[in-house]
């Protein structure tokens, strides 16, 4: 069986994230957590603790008040 | 061009249209509601914008929004209404937008009266709202002059990107006099693409414009205030206007008076001349910038013993006169509030006390 390709790039911008944790609470797959190390901005940002569980539903993106989370298409991984 | 007999308020409304301003927002208040009533019909004829707002406060912001979007716009009101507009006027000056305000003064303070006064002189000339700014203030003494000044106000407002105020009084608003609307005074609106929020598509630009008056950084706010001050300094250099009467004689007393009051003073001066008493007058046509040099020069005439500020107030312009005269001559005040315009006889009687 062919393994499911993940053609998407997920990132949380540490400069923008204010550690509000709203994304953590809304993720349907419990992917996100709040870091224990402080960001350069002085916040404890969110990060993908279990990235392999991410289904790219973008619910976290929609919840984030700071547009800190981005999902883009990963060009190398696109299959036709 | 034919002259027409028009009521001051209506002529003011017509003057704006003839000047190329087709946008009017206003609120009724005695003694200037006729401007709105006239324009409610007339703006429709010229496919202009007329809106009666819900209060003078709201109107001042309709003016601000429309001006910031690049339109030529004006409003009229009277003393208490102008007080309500003061905040909006401050914002408009702070945001460097052009707009024309007409104050048909009535008795104050508070609800005061509905008859003419000149009791908003300080309000108009010493800013007209909070913060460091000035209004260019013009004071007509006839319906014709009101027409001329309204028409000149629009390009002036655009030249300085600042509100301009026409300070009339209830008499100018209510009386009927012959007027003509000179096509020479019609001007095209200035190009506002560098600052107005008229839409990026409209400007063919991907740069957006922002109209604001907030500058939280103290350096930035200081710079901004210096920019504004430079405009007012330029007004003082370039926009002083005044008229004189009987100034080429050896007058004993110099009257300084504006608007309706100055017309009464002219009659008094004529009457005193017949008695053999010479009195001269400087009539400021701009109250800001005030004709300081001209008042000083006229006061310093050798024959002149005293200066009289004759105004329908408890003494407001007198402060600018005293400042201009720099103590070189005594400055006296005669005035009356309540709405009864002083008669030539009252002015004559007062001047006699100074001889």
């Amino acid at each position: 069986m062919k393994e499911l390709e993940m053609p998407y790039q997920y990132s949380i911008d540490e400069e923008r994230c204010k550690g509000c944790a709203l994304c953590v609470t809304v993720c349907p797959k419990d992917v996100l957590e709040i870091a224990t190390d402080v960001s350069p901005k002085g916040y404890f940002p969110a990060y993908q603790a279990r990235p392999e569980d991410c289904i790219f539903c973008a619910t976290c993106c929609r919840m984030c008040p700071d547009v800190a989370i981005t999902i883009t298409e990963s060009v190398e991984n696109i299959t036709d | 061009m034919a002259k027409v007999l028009m009521k001051g308020n209506e002529a003011i409304g017509e003057a704006a249209i003839r000047a190329g301003c087709l946008n009017y927002f206003a609120y009724p208040i005695t003694p200037q509601s006729e401007v709105a009533e006239y324009l409610a019909r007339r703006m429709k004829e010229v496919d202009g914008v007329f809106l009666q707002g819900e209060s003078e406060v709201a109107v001042s912001y309709m003016i601000f929004g429309a001006s910031a979007a690049g339109a030529r716009v004006f409003t009229t009101s009277s003393s208490p209404g102008i007080s309500l507009m003061s905040e909006g006027i401050s914002y408009i000056a702070g945001a460097q937008c052009p707009a024309v305000f007409v104050n048909i003064m009535r008795g104050g303070p508070g609800l005061g009266g509905i008859l003419p006064s000149q009791a908003d002189y300080l309000q108009a000339t010493k800013g007209g709202g909070h913060g460091d700014f000035r209004l260019l203030v013009m004071a007509p003494a006839s319906v014709q002059e009101a027409v001329t000044m309204v028409m000149q106000a629009f390009p002036l407002a655009e030249k300085y990107r600042n509100p301009v105020m026409i300070l009339g009084d209830g008499l100018i608003g209510q009386m009927m006099e012959p007027v003509e609307f000179s096509d020479d005074l019609k001007t095209d609106a200035s190009d506002k693409d560098s600052w107005a929020t008229n839409g990026m598509d409209h400007r063919g630009s991907s740069q957006r414009n922002l109209v604001k008056s907030l500058f939280l950084d103290p350096e930035a706010l200081n710079q901004h205030n210096l920019t504004l001050k430079a405009k007012y300094d330029q007004m003082k250099q370039e926009e002083v206007r005044f008229d004189t009467y009987n100034i080429d004689t050896d007058y004993q007393v110099l009257i300084v008076s504006y608007g309706t009051m100055s017309r009464v003073c002219r009659t008094a001066i004529d009457n005193m001349k017949k008695e053999g008493v010479e009195v001269g007058m400087v009539r400021p046509q701009t109250l800001f910038p005030f004709p300081e040099e001209q008042v000083l020069a006229a006061a310093e005439k050798k024959s002149c013993k005293a200066v009289a500020s004759i105004e329908m107030s408890m003494g407001q312009m007198i402060e600018d006169i005293q400042r201009s005269v720099q103590g070189k001559r005594p400055v006296h005040w005669y005035g009356k509030c309540g709405g009864d315009v002083p008669t030539p006889e009252e002015v004559t009687e007062f001047v006699h006390t100074l001889l």
């Binding site: 944790a21 709203l22 984030c64 700071d66 547009v67 | 946008n23 929020t197």
Partner: protein, 247 residues
């Protein structure tokens, strides 16, 4: 549902000054997404209020004006009357719209001025440090109601959507929330509908959005969402209060 997610181009890159978890950020993004999707940024003028969103103009990339407290609907009226082709929206909080600006919003709505108002209801005055708002809940503690809002003294919270919907002039009046993703999806739909009505020059539109203020409520952003769901949604029901078709 598309899988990619990027910042809309009508939103600037600037990191906002809003507190962590403040839903202003969500609303700003929704408005920017709608403006992008409708392709109207070239003829849009936003009007910023006085309140936490006083600097809203820093976060959008199209023309913006800054209004005095409460006066945005009057400024919007001025713009729409002289340039009906411009898409104009006011962005106002509960002090701006429901307190000092109550006169302006009612009259603009009643005249049917064809602009859109985005009304951020978080039951408190944020920028000035947490004072009571006309929309604060009964018994809610704020800095000017330290013992809790006493409704016998200062009355009940004002339901703005219902109030404006009671006017006779056709309008689009709707209340949604931005507390959870399901609300956010609906909020975007109604914001888009509001702007579409404006594109048709159809009517006035007001979108009230139940929002949070974690800092001044004294709650974490996550707890603030819960507080709003438990205390605000029962009093401020979500839904469509008026549409121009139903007139």
């Amino acid at each position: 549902m598309g899988k990619t997610f990027t910042k809309p181009k009508s939103l600037s890159d600037q990191i906002t000054h809003y507190c962590p978890g403040c839903t202003h950020g969500v609303i700003h993004r929704l408005v920017a997404e709608v403006i992008d999707e409708l392709d109207i940024s070239g003829r849009t003028v936003g009007i910023a209020p006085v309140g936490c969103a006083v600097l809203a103009y820093n976060y959008f990339t199209f023309d913006f004006q800054e209004a005095a407290h409460g006066r945005a609907p009057a400024m919007a009226t001025g713009i729409k009357r002289v340039r009906p082709d411009l898409m104009v929206f006011t962005y106002q909080g509960d002090g701006d719209l429901a307190s000092i600006g109550m006169g302006e919003i009612i009259h603009a709505a009643n005249r049917g001025e064809k602009f859109t108002t985005i009304f951020v209801n978080n039951a408190i005055y944020g920028m000035t440090g947490g004072q009571m708002a006309p929309t604060s809940m009964p018994n809610q503690r704020t800095t000017t109601s330290p013992f809790g809002r006493d409704v016998d003294d200062v009355g009940m919270p004002i339901k703005v959507a219902e109030l404006i919907a009671a006017l006779q002039t056709p309008a689009y009046i709707v209340r949604q929330a931005v507390l959870k993703p399901k609300h956010i999806v609906k909020a975007k739909k109604v914001i888009k509908r509001a702007f579409q009505y404006q594109m048709e020059a159809r009517c006035f539109s007001l979108v009230e959005l139940i929002s949070t203020c974690p800092t001044n409520w004294g709650l974490t952003p996550v707890d603030a969402v819960k507080w709003a769901e438990d205390n605000m949604l029962p009093y401020y029901p979500l839904g469509e209060y008026k549409t121009p078709e139903a007139a």
